[in-house]
Symmetry: C2
Subunit: 236 residues, 2 copies
């Protein structure tokens, strides 16, 4: 990690992502003293297992992977940060040391809030604490849903849910707008907790059933309704 001193850019981000909203208004100037822009190179760790947390990060740009690690060395990807988000909430409040690794997948930028001199203030800042509780509640809900989804639904269902959540609108040759899925398949397999082989097999089924079709750089969704039905609309 390297720090980038750039007050102007910093101010820009503070406004863009409404960072003031995360804290008590009258505390903010205190916190601001300990905020810097941080840059992580591809592959670098933001937090490692059993390390004490030193910074809370507001993710700005790049791509960051959260995964848990098993003793056989395998990693289960839990989440990817691609849009704005907060990193370190779990680590800040969880006293036991979680077996989680957070690593930059691309060069990434965050706003780092050093905890050394601000922790006591943050622990007495109800706005911040409420935001953290909401964030954690949201992540918990996401994690529980995911857990149930994994237990009850076959990969076909989970894949459909994932297709919907990560496909993006693109124009095809004819100029029509369609949803196209362009993630790397190995990464998708990791997120879905399955083998590449099986993911591929399942994509083939969906192709054969004409719900998706292969296109130059990914898969195009051609029967969105059917995919929605197969996906997590499993949840009431």
């Amino acid at each position: 990690m390297e720090f980038i001193e750039d007050e102007k850019k910093m101010g820009y981000y503070v406004d863009k992502f409404n960072l003031r909203n995360y804290f008590r208004e009258d505390f903010f100037s205190q916190y601001q003293k300990y905020m810097t822009i941080a840059r992580f190179s591809k592959g670098e760790y933001l937090y490692r297992q059993k390390e004490n947390i030193q910074y809370l990060y507001f993710f700005i740009e790049g791509k960051i992977k959260v995964s848990s690690v098993l003793s056989n060395g395998k990693r289960q990807a839990l989440y990817y940060y691609k849009k704005f988000g907060i990193l370190g909430d779990l680590e800040l409040f969880n006293r036991s040391n979680p077996y989680t690794i957070i690593q930059a997948e691309k060069d990434s930028y965050c706003i780092a809030l050093s905890l050394a001199y601000t922790k006591h203030l943050l622990y007495n800042d109800p706005v911040f604490l409420r935001n953290m509780a909401e964030l954690l509640a949201e992540k918990l809900y996401h994690s529980s849903s995911n857990f149930s989804l994994n237990i009850y639904c076959s990969l076909e269902n989970r894949l459909c849910a994932y297709l919907i959540s990560s496909a993006e609108k693109k124009r095809d040759e004819t100029g029509a707008e369609t949803l196209v899925f362009q993630e790397k398949l190995s990464e998708t397999a990791e997120i879905l907790g399955t083998s590449y082989r099986h993911l591929h097999r399942t994509l083939k089924y969906l192709k054969e059933e004409e719900l998706i079709e292969k296109c130059s750089n990914g898969y195009r969704i051609i029967n969105l309704e059917a995919i929605k039905q197969l996906s997590s609309e499993q949840f009431i």
Copy 2:
């Protein structure tokens, strides 16, 4: 739910479970005005989906099941409250309405804190908020670990982890202390997210490998080391 007015018992529980520690000391008397003992009959719901949360509960006694519901009507048990714990944290902070059902499995007692008149105070009580954040962080960590465990480990591994966590010390005929697992198998299958059939098959394997043995009212662990090894020591 029925309320039980019993100031004496209430005071006893407040002390026994250190409920004062969950709040700002000088706010506590305010909260106390809105606390009562609540009794739920077997089968009754504490929270249902899409209902607004009215009480935060401190679970005292009985047994309460948390589960998520899929559209096919199936429920995935997520957690059982058997010892002291707090209910409603997720519901209090999660704005979206989660697909979660919380139901008493046995007649149960809680201390109910009505939120109608205390919410604004709780939202400005850093001690409470910090406790909630810690609780949510712990639950999130538990849920994520569970998720990874489910994805990477076969039922044999998960079952071993569960055996360890829920077996209890008992004396056998000779007076020696051993660990005995006495949960209902159908319930265990639900928690582990598997079919009764497969759970049973897996217990049989463990029996054949002489890690456990059938005893009058459950299974006795006879090779704890081996079970530990198969279990979540999967986690580094």
